[in-house]
């Protein structure tokens, strides 16, 4: 074939169009095919019937409740933390910054192992809790702690940068107009950062829902107690293929809803001054 440079303009353009199309198609197929394959391996009847399996129901329920609790903790602790962190300088701030992001690159299995070393029955801190009759590892609490550890960076990073960039003259103006700090936060700061905070929260929820590595290391795999949906998929693959398939499809659907929510929320950006 002749080099593109000496092809007539008409052919050159159609060639670059088809190359671009091919590239987009290749990427789309690579990402979509595995997901589509899930739906092709089952039938609607099989899907609906295994939905009512106790294993599926308990995994779904456990996953949803723990993820909601994890998210609530991350929001309630992470929001005030992000404000204080973003607006003050203190010694060691760089280290704290790095620590916030660490779980993003730390392998989840390592995170789970580390949590076990600290809070396990013989762990540095865990032994004292154990003496008080409060076991942490291999309980539902451990599931939540693992999720918070692994999923919090998605919200924290977002909140931190939102509050760093937030123009404080809005808040100052509200204060001079007579608003208390709480009123200022509720009517000015929160509405102006809500879009970003919600998208961070949704990503955190999604990550918590999909948590596998840290959970299996630190919380184990007890049906109804610590067996979340990703863990049930793993078990299902070995014992009951259809159950694994059903839970996988559920997780795909939830992931899609999450991504669509993020898209919709971030599109409704408020006009900025």
């Amino acid at each position: 074939m002749r080099p593109a440079g000496i092809l007539p303009e008409k052919y050159r353009r159609s060639l670059s169009y088809s190359l671009a199309g091919l590239l987009i198609l290749a990427v789309t197929l690579y990402l979509a095919l595995p997901v589509v394959a899930l739906f092709f391996r089952t039938t609607p009847e099989l899907f609906w019937s295994s939905l009512s399996d106790p294993l599926v129901i308990s995994a779904l329920w456990l996953s949803l409740t723990t993820s909601v609790i994890s998210l609530a903790v991350v929001i309630l602790v992470g929001t005030p933390f992000a404000i204080v962190h973003a607006r003050s300088s203190y010694p060691g701030k760089v280290i704290v910054d790095t620590l916030i992001d660490l779980p993003l690159v730390l392998p989840p299995a390592v995170a789970g192992f580390a949590l076990l070393v600290l809070y396990g029955r013989m762990g540095l801190v865990g032994r004292y809790f154990n003496m008080l009759g409060i076991p942490i590892a291999f309980t539902t609490l451990a599931v939540i702690m693992a999720q918070i550890f692994v999923a919090s960076p998605f919200y924290m990073r977002q909140a931190k940068s939102l509050f760093e960039q937030f123009d404080q003259s809005y808040e100052y103006t509200a204060r001079t107009l007579g608003a208390s700090p709480l009123r200022t936060f509720m009517t000015i700061t929160l509405p102006l950062t809500a879009t970003g905070l919600v998208s961070g929260a949704v990503m955190t929820f999604g990550r918590a829902l999909g948590e596998f590595g840290a959970t299996i290391m630190f919380a184990g795999n007890l049906p109804g107690v610590t067996q979340t949906m990703p863990l049930a998929v793993y078990v299902g693959m070995e014992s009951n293929f259809n159950l694994g398939l059903t839970i996988s499809i559920l997780l795909v659907i939830i992931s899609f809803i999450i991504m669509i929510t993020v898209r919709l929320v971030t599109r409704k950006e408020v006009p900025h001054a």
Binding site: R175, S180, V270, P271
Partner: protein
Amino acid sequence: MLKVEFTRTLRDFTMALSFQVRDGEILALMGNNGSGKSTTLNLIAGLLPPDSGCIRLNGATLCEPAQGTHIAIEDRRIGYVFQNAAVFPHLSVRDNIAYGLRARNMPRLEITERVEQMMELMHLEDLAPVKAGNLSGGQKQRTALARAIAIGPALLMMDEPFSSLDVESTHAVKKLTRDIVKKMQIPCIVVTHRVADCQEIADWAMVICSGKREWEGRPPDIPQDCTVCRYH
């Protein structure tokens, strides 16, 4: 009457200023970037504490570190218009103007009435339902001024109110500001670094440099060798 006397240590220099602004008088606070103009306004508004000194408005002490007095920002009744106007972009023009009245728990009927008055005064009637984030620079500045005036402030402060406005809007905002200050008979401080703005709007001018007074007098008399004149 506003009486200000304070010191405050900043990163590069220590500010030490004392001045007063009479009722119905507009003081132009001038100086180059980083000379301490905005800091002065923030100290008066209570956003920053002074190291020492005393700030008194109409006989009441707003702040006096030696006595441990520091009136909360929201209780100072100061109309403060920030440099970028800081209109709340997610609220309509009407809700922006009503913000301070609601925060002060004014009865709803009175709020509606006051907001209508303000919109008429500032020629904002047609923009009442528009989200403030979508306004032009001049409209934002007028909304911010209306919002500051609505609370019936005892002092009006404006930080570089004309810096992002075109000629026409600048003229309109200047006239509105002068009219309001004269009518309400409250002291007013306008921060600016442009001599022309100062001469058009102010009754008295003070030039500061590195937090200290460099010159003070009538606006037409600003000397040519002043820091603010040197580069213009």
